[in-house]
Subunit: 239 residues, 4 copies
């Protein structure tokens, strides 16, 4: 079997403009994620928002099995035509993993069918504990039932997304909030995993358990079954 | 309790331009549906695509608990701003019942997050049998487990929609096709019921069981719980 | 429409043998629950484990639309034949609301198909916060999105139950635990709502928001659709 | 990675007592299934009801990743202790694939929490068409969207099982019936796939597409994540 082809997409704004963020992610968030995915055996490329076509040409997407999406401060500047291109690839079977503040991106809202930007949040460095409510899910391979992240941005319910097909993680935050932090969706022939942690100011993507979850999510999201379905006028009997 | 306020929206093209359709629905599809919903005790208005703002002004929508949507040949002519207005009301708790060829409407695709226009179809007047797979659902009140419609347009899987929160009906068609014909979704604070039958050339909406299903779906889709949720920056502890 | 007929079933052991529990629930937990359900307009009876047939004769069950179940220390003493009788009624359409430690009861395990007694727990009087993740659900009518219970027994994930058909509440506990605290299931023609709060040593069922949730859950769980389904040998065509 | 260990369990009554069934499955249904699973690379054993402990000793089960279950005429004779042993292994993470008339087995009813024996049926050799409603599911790898089985026993809805976590196939039958024929469930740490086709009098398990579905289902059902979860008294904070 050929290795799964992953494209790690990053808005790549914070790291270029804010030294204290660059200090956390010197190679960019995409660089950090690409590195551990490569080590896991995937064929990995990166793409960023400042590149032409945001680095997501038709050719890049056509050769991507799973796209990872991190964005935050510049959602509004993402070109609608590129969003549509990503959406079309998901319909055709590409997996997509939307991370953290990507919840408010155009592609997330388009795939959810809701205002998924809506949730409660604060940047206090709260402690977060991820609890698995689906321990034998493929995304849990080698992951403990409880993952503690010492400091993170807090996200709290109500998170305006459809009920997931599978809920994998629920987060506890000091301060009294909870959040559905790992959620699986099918959309068209593609799959989407939303994973909450990963604020730019915390080294969350350097944490081993978090890396393992994303590594597993890639395998889960990769195309697995039928990727061409007939539709439209069908005059003949099916028998 | 005040009566539920329903707006029945119809594209209203076939009935005005094709005499053999007008013969089936002399008062328009909206007229037929409005009549049996009124008789069921709801407060019912109608709106059609040719009206200014397609009859869906902000005021009309603000006073609608459940919107019924029938469209077919002119989906592309529905104003995007009106689609957004309907979407916003669903986010805020309005129920919506999408009928038959409304599967390919802009509002359906926007709420599904998929190319829900994709399915197999043929207009052969096939016999359709609706089987309930959720017999004690509120939409089944007074409805038999099997509803035969003598002649209908056929829709066949794969229907490109997300897995429903609840599957209520599966249709059998002569010719060898099946279809998920009654599906419940939550979107934002609103609810959506997709119901398959109702091609313009067949008198489906005059059939008592079909009417009962739509009557029940209105009660199911009407707002029932919290309709205002705080989101955004939340600096204080929740405790 | 006739009022919904509710039977509130209580193990009724703690209150009779432990004065500090009797001080919290002088009329028994069933007495407290029956009182607020009656005030809400339901037709309410009570039944307890020490009664002959645990108070759940065939006649009582045949005249029950929704059964409420509270048990804790004597699950093992509940007669298997009575458990089967309750199960049969759920299959036939009766609703059942399983409260708190009822998670480990024979009827819960039988309806779940899992060892639903498995979860983490401690009796430290932790603060609990219930967050709604389904704000427009009928169980949320008049209930705020956040319900604080000052002191409760803690239950923590992993809770060994199937994924619910609908998840309504997620609880936060001081100490770092989370729990899926309000879950909807269909079983046979009946419906089940599991609701976590209600340890015998805390006055949880006197709290207004908790009462409103249970009042709403009764309406949700009551039979609503088809209650007789043909099965078995079916020689004739369905057409 | 070690190969997945499969135990194919068969009641093995029809083939030993009815010559016309033995003619269809000369090596027993288990023999047929074991052969194609072995060819797919799994480590396969068989076990049958007439063997001591029905061939399902604790040691056999402890060394089984996925159990396949075919039973029909002797469900009532399966020892409750063995059923409990299988159930315990599913709770601990073993996958189980229940085939055809296994829907009415003790283990299926125990894992469903419903009277899953209830459905409509007839033995007329009806044509069956399986349609996929989850084309990119791992169970669909190499399987076409439509699988025609020329002659099968008919099963019709309402099938008394909980809503599946994922619905993969819907069957069409000549005569007007439909059936949810491929359904995924999580139970405890284990997974269950119910697959409808496979009446003893038809050579269904010799059909390539049917074999591919079962081959894929084994991979899907095999343990993948956490297989040991702490539960019980948990006095310490989780932080």
């Amino acid at each position: 079997m050929n290795p799964i082809r992953v494209t790690v997409w990053n808005e790549y704004m914070h790291e270029r403009t804010e030294p204290h963020i660059a200090a956390v992610y010197p190679d960019g968030i995409h660089g950090c994620i690409a590195a551990f995915l490569r080590e896991a055996g995937y064929e990995v490329k990166t793409a960023t928002q400042p590149e032409p076509e945001h680095g997501l040409t038709q050719e890049v997407l056509d050769n991507t099995d799973v796209l990872i999406w991190w964005g935050h401060m510049a959602h509004g500047d993402v070109d609608d035509a590129i969003v549509k291109r990503v959406y079309d690839r998901v319909m055709a079977g590409m997996g997509i993993i939307v991370l953290h503040s990507g919840h408010a991106s155009k592609i997330m809202e388009k795939l959810m069918g809701t205002n998924s930007g809506e949730l409660k949040w604060r940047e206090n460095g709260d402690k977060e504990i991820l609890w698995s409510v689906a321990p034998n899910h493929p995304i849990m391979r080698g992951v403990p039932e409880k993952v503690i992240i010492d400091h993170e941005e807090m996200y709290g319910e109500f998170f305006n997304v459809p009920d997931p097909d599978e809920l994998v993680f629920v987060s506890w935050f000091e301060g009294g909030f909870v959040f559905r932090s790992g959620m699986c969706y099918k959309r068209g022939l593609g799959k989407l995993f939303y994973f909450r942690p990963g604020h730019e100011s915390f080294p969350t993507y350097f944490q081993k358990e978090v890396q393992q979850i994303i590594i597993n999510a890639v395998a889960w999201a990769a195309p697995q079954g039928i990727l061409k379905i007939a539709s439209g006028h069908t005059p003949d009997d099916a028998t």
